[in-house]
């Protein structure tokens, strides 16, 4: 069967922009130039007069014909703040960020729609702008949402373990802070879809870059006021997602446009639109103190992390949800006595916050890893020594951490040891010493992390939904359905490997079908692909294998123990006469001699078809409440050289050790590592969305919002450890976010190490050349 790789490499992929239907119309959005303003007047007459324009959809149309965007996560607890604003896919009365769509033009072709978009007249009455979290939380700050008492959307407070005891026991308490800039995930393909509302049937069908079709169907149906059963969402080839394509937002306007015009309507988002109209992530600051013993024992942490969430997320509650992992992840992989963490989220006049690779886990780990390296320096320990002292040990699993995570297993010291074998840090330290004498500034960064993967939390749509189906067709080919869309992260290869491995069929006979809303599940997010969907697929494949064994035993007049399957051939013991290909076997099972020749028990059990649909749920979560199921382990070591006169950081060496449990596909894992590391390097050194005081986003294109090119990306060396997880069906652990978590942290700590002669603490990112130069200039004169 033709593989996805073959299809895509030969230029025959079908991405959202390639969708074409008879009579298809095109939709283009018009956004607000103001960050905060009342819409006084919106005049579409001139736009509608452009030949080829079918109609203009305004915010007023959206409010009239659709419902407010549905709530996706809702947490209330005594002492916590959790607010949600009522928002529509487009506003009728007020805009709250630069770029917020206020109208959409539907025309016969995209060019006409773009021309007409420029002719829409909007009169705005500007309002005071809330330009950042700090401003937002000031008393008397202008409010974004009139019915809220202030701009605080979220305030969570966690006591993990016994923080007071931890601080009482401390030899020293060190004050720490950290900040990171606002970024966006920016896959190279923007969002896009085609919607078709069938007026005869009352059904809505959509095709496009949908990362989570099942949830997107629920949310689009809710906003459109349609019965969910009459809505179908279909993922096509997706040009990268990283969490940025889980939306049910502008998609509603596309659906409405189809409903109002009766046409297939296509929308494909140019990159500039994708950057300006979010989603965005990070933009947090930490303030806190850490309690340690003089021998390097980590005891406790008290910290507050403040998020600039932008406006209410179009995925209501999902932005705020990322504050949970941000607050929990500082425990990382160490034994702690106690922590008190508060997570605050403020709304501001910036584009909204949503999922991006890392989703808060990165923030907590980046923070704590910087803190630990700082503690090590104060105690005159090496970064590796302090970690070895505090790691949870291999014989302690499953380990119930103070933050309620149940850590499945791993070899934390072994992972770091392996990385230390790859990079001779002592040699580099000698080099560093030597270099400093000559004005060269080399830095060595060491970071270790676990990645909490596969989210399942109550009170939100990320509750742990997953379903899979594996079936053998009458011609012997195998089809696989799951909720795990292929966003470039290797869903298809992984599922082919899992299914062919379990069934014994040929890899090329397995077809992983495009994901639609017919399969229940959250889709691939929170690195859950290798945990939840892969487990469901493996479980279904195992059940199907049992059926195959049973059927074959009946056909061969043998017992199931005699059945051997390999490379697409089903055999019986050592009897070479008794062999069936999958095609022969399936044909027998379905048609000739057909079901009535199957054992009567099979027929009575209604188990006569070679198709298994099943679901999977984390075995560790129900009792413990652990939000995550697997915890892959990684160690990153980076060596950088900083030109202190220009501020430029050059990466001299990068090594990454990974333990993702059972390896389903090494090339997929390595690919995830490479890509994630380079994204993390982007965050560490160059990526930052810059808003001015008026809420104008200043860097709105690839030319201004810089992501790494091949020139800045380093050579990455990788090694693997394999500690299979007891909690997933295959032993694999989710790992998609780990590389971005470790790399961002390790580059920054390496830069700090390089700058240590200046006494500089790298407490802000990105460590752009200008920022590094400013730190050097601001340090106490020359090198100390």
């Amino acid at each position: 069967m033709e593989s996805r790789e073959h299809r895509l490499i030969s230029g025959r992929g079908q991405y959202a922009d390639d969708l074409d239907f008879p009579g298809m119309a095109h939709l283009v959005f018009v956004g607000s130039p103001h960050a905060h303003a009342r819409i006084v007047r919106l005049d579409v007459a001139e736009a509608e007069a452009v030949p080829g324009v079918i109609r203009v959809i305004t915010g007023a149309d959206v409010v009239e014909h659709t419902h407010p965007l549905p709530v996706q996560a809702n947490f209330t607890s005594p002492g916590w703040t959790w607010r949600l604003a009522e928002v529509y896919a487009m506003p009728a009365d007020k805009v709250r960020w630069h770029g917020e769509p206020v109208a959409a033009v539907v025309a016969e072709d995209e060019r006409t729609a773009r021309i007409a978009a420029d002719k829409i007249q909007v009169e705005y009455d500007p309002l005071p702008v809330v330009a950042g979290a700090e401003d937002a939380l000031k008393p008397n700050a202008p409010k974004l949402y009139d019915d809220w008492p202030d701009n605080k959307q979220v305030h969570l407070k966690f006591d993990f373990g016994d923080p007071d005891a931890a601080f009482k026991e401390a030899d020293r308490v060190i004050t720490v802070s950290n900040r990171e800039g606002r970024v966006t995930g920016l896959p190279i393909e923007g969002r896009g879809c085609v919607g078709h509302y069938d007026r005869g049937k009352g059904t809505l069908t959509m095709w496009g870059a949908f990362q989570t079709p099942y949830l997107q169907r629920h949310n689009i149906a809710a906003a459109m006021g349609l019965p969910e059963a009459r809505v179908s969402i279909n993922a096509v080839d997706i040009g990268g997602a990283f969490g940025l394509k889980i939306h049910a937002w502008k998609e509603n306007v596309v659906a409405l446009a189809s409903k109002l015009t009766g046409r297939y309507v296509k929308w494909f988002e140019p990159q500039r639109d994708f950057i300006v109209t979010g989603p965005h992530q990070r933009d947090v600051s930490w303030q806190g103190e850490v309690a340690v013993k003089n021998d390097g024992t980590l005891l406790g942490l008290r910290a507050t992390v403040t998020h600039d969430l932008g406006v209410e997320s179009t995925q209501k509650g999902i932005a705020a949800l990322s504050i949970f992992p941000a607050c929990s992840s500082p425990c990382n992989m160490y034994r702690w006595k106690g922590m008190h963490i508060e997570g605050i989220g403020a709304v501001t006049n910036k584009s909204f916050y949503c999922a991006y690779r890392g989703y808060g886990k990165d923030k907590g780990i980046k923070f704590i890893e910087a803190v630990i390296n700082r503690v090590a320096r104060e105690l005159n320990m090496t970064p590796e020594a302090i970690r070895f002292k505090n790691f949870i040990q291999p014989d302690e699993f499953p380990f119930k951490a103070i933050n309620n995570y149940v850590l499945d297993n791993g070899d934390y010291p072994g992972t770091l040891n392996r990385a230390l074998e790859m990079v001779d840090v002592d040699k580099w330290r000698a080099e560093q010493e030597k270099g400093r004498a000559g004005g060269r500034h080399i830095g060595i960064g060491i970071v270790t992390s676990i990645e909490p993967a596969g989210v399942a939390v109550p009170n939100c749509q990320m509750g742990g939904l997953t379903q899979a189906r594996v079936a053998i067709c009458p011609d012997g080919t195998v089809e696989v359905d799951s909720d795990r869309t292929e966003i470039g992260q290797g869903s298809e290869i992984s599922h082919v490997n899992i299914v062919s491995g379990i069934l014994g069929c040929k890899k090329e006979d397995v077809y992983v079908r495009p994901v639609t809303s017919e399969t229940i599940g959250q889709g691939p997010l929170s690195s859950r692909g290798a945990v939840w969907p892969a487990s469901a697929v493996a479980k279904a494949a195992k059940q199907l294998r049992a059926k195959v064994d049973r059927f074959a035993a009946s056909m061969f007049d043998a017992t199931v123990d005699d059945i051997r399957i390999a490379d697409g051939v089903i055999g019986c013991g050592k009897d070479t006469e008794k062999q069936l290909t999958f095609a022969e076997f399936a044909n027998k099972a379905f048609f000739f001699p057909g079901p009535r020749r199957l054992p009567k028990e099979v027929l009575l059990e209604h188990e006569q078809l070679l198709s298994v649909t099943t679901t999977w749920y984390s075995p560790s979560t129900p009792e413990s409440g652990s939000s995550y199921t697997t915890f892959c382990t990684s160690a990153d070591i980076a060596v950088v050289e900083v030109d202190t006169e220009t501020g430029v950081t050059k990466i001299l060496k990068y090594a990454h050790v990974h333990d993702a449990g059972t390896v389903i596909s090494k090339k997929v894992i390595d690919g995830q590592i490479h890509g994630g590391i380079v994204q993390g390097i982007g965050e560490a050194l160059m990526e930052e969305l810059k808003y001015d005081r008026n809420g104008q986003l200043l860097n709105t294109s690839f030319a201004e919002y810089l992501i790494p090119t091949a020139v800045e990306a380093p050579v990455i060396e990788i090694a693997h450890l394999v500690t299979p997880s007891p909690f997933s069906e295959t032993g694999a652990k989710g790992m998609g976010e780990a590389p971005i978590i470790g790399s961002k942290a390790v580059i920054l700590t390496a830069v700090e190490d390089a700058l240590s002669p200046f006494g500089i603490l790298v407490e802000d990112s990105p460590a752009s050349p200008e920022r590094v130069r400013a730190w050097v200039n601001g340090s106490k004169g020359d090198e100390q």
Binding site: I9, P187, G488, A710
Partner: protein, 162 residues
Amino acid sequence: MKITVHYTINSKACDLEVDAGETLLEALRNRLKLTSVHRSCEEGECGACTVLLNGEPVNSCLMLAAAADGADILTTEGLMRGDQRHPIMDAFVDLHGMQCGFCTPGLLMTGYSLVRKANGGDLDEATIRQSIEGNLCRCTGYMNIVKAIQEAKRRKDAGDWW
């Protein structure tokens, strides 16, 4: 204003009527249905729409269709021989130089042009990286793309090329 242009596209001659305000990208995608040529930034910053114009990589979004009149244009579709993959495509598949696949056709064109012109031994890493600096990729970290291009050169040197 309508203009008739003549291209040799993927080795086939073609006459096409285009708008003067139409980019080569739009003509290739919308009129010729060559959808391997991907649209992303439309401002020459990402390289997803890279095609070879007279053997050299250009951003088709930055060129008027009219200005390409008379050109020999090659897209990813044109690298195929029937259903047979070009050796550089094999190298990308074998070395996992593709994840989401969206930037891939552009990278294939840039990589193909580089390998085709390269003589001597292995292509060095720095040369490859500089040559693909105009093709942004967010999935792969470029590691396996660089390796795939190196491998393509080896295959070319071994006679596996067209």
